[in-house]
């Protein structure tokens, strides 16, 4: 087990697209353990993506279980993840282990359906909402070379969306 070095923007490697995982073997599982340890070592992170540590494969870990009073699925190892449906939009503030001392407001889908494999290659489907869905979308962006810096919204936009967000007409899709 090892804590891996995190790439920091403007490292150009953070902007590259990662490849799907093909071999679900012991080497993959060893890497996943190191990635978990790296996430735990970071300051308050709720997710990490393999390209953040210089491995350009479609692997992310998300764990928002430390946040009180939210729906979540615990610690998730998501390999070759794909979002199959998105519903609603919500703006929230994000920071990134790869972009220190900066946070910004980013619009994300409020509800997502996600398909992914675990580190043994088993397929799973998840219905996620809000904070956990945001964390997954943030980490999956890393797999496509995107950072929160690519998705910033202005504060004026924030007010309009916030009012829209709190209006009662929004149906829950589940």
């Amino acid at each position: 087990m090892a804590v891996l070095d995190i790439l920091i923007y403007p490292d150009p490697r953070l902007k590259q697209v990662s490849k799907p995982v093909e071999q679900f073997d012991d080497a993959l599982r060893a890497f996943v353990r190191n990635l978990e340890e790296t996430l735990e070592a970071g300051p308050g992170g709720v997710g990490i993506a393999a390209p953040q540590v210089g491995r350009f494969e479609r692997i992310v870990i998300v764990d928002v279980s430390c946040k009180p009073k939210i729906k979540h699925h615990g610690r998730l190892v998501l390999i070759n993840p794909e979002i199959t449906s998105r519903e609603g939009t919500v703006i929230g503030r994000e920071g990134c282990l790869s972009v220190p001392d900066y946070t910004g407001n980013v619009a994300r889908a409020k509800f997502i359906t996600l398909r992914a494999r675990d580190e043994f290659g088993k397929a799973h489907e998840f219905h996620m909402e809000r904070y956990e869905a945001r964390a997954v979308q943030h980490e999956m962006d890393h797999l496509d070379g995107l950072l929160l810096l690519d998705r910033l919204v202005s504060r004026r936009d924030l007010f309009r969306r916030q009012v829209k967000e709190s209006s009662p007409a929004k149906p829950h899709p589940e």
């Binding site: 997710g47 503030r93 964390a135 980490e139 007010f159 916030q162």
Partner: protein, 174 residues
Amino acid sequence: MKKWFMLILVGKDQPGIVAQITRALYEGECNLGEASMVRLGGNFTVMLMVQFAGDEQALDHLVGPICKSFNLRHHVDSIEGELLHHVEPDVRITVYGADRAGIVAEATGTLAEKGFNILNLESDVGGTAEDPIYIMTIEGVAEQGIEILEEALTKLAQDQGLETQLEPIDTLIG
């Protein structure tokens, strides 16, 4: 040894102000820090951190000719330039209602009493000439907790006929 200055500019908005001012600063061997540039009621306003080897007078001379050509007023102050130590807001507050004098003083006075430290405040006057509305969004740190602010804002809304919203900012680090 370069020192930090705050350069403040105010004048009637016209195209090209930012480009020409920043070009003059760059050619004068200045480095720029954080900036707020915004159009307020038809005036273009700039607050710009400038790192410069000379003194206030030399910086004043550097931007003087361009300010004159755009008919801008300007002001230079020596400051402490504290970069890369951002304080993260944990609450976003929106206050809006029919425009009248006193909204900002009442709202911010109430918040200050309850230990709220403002990091950003933006306000706009919208609506119509006959019925203008005042819209203010504030981000800051709730140093005595959010509950006490919520109570105070509810009372403010009732007493002053304003609409208020408070939203915790839970910054996601991924």
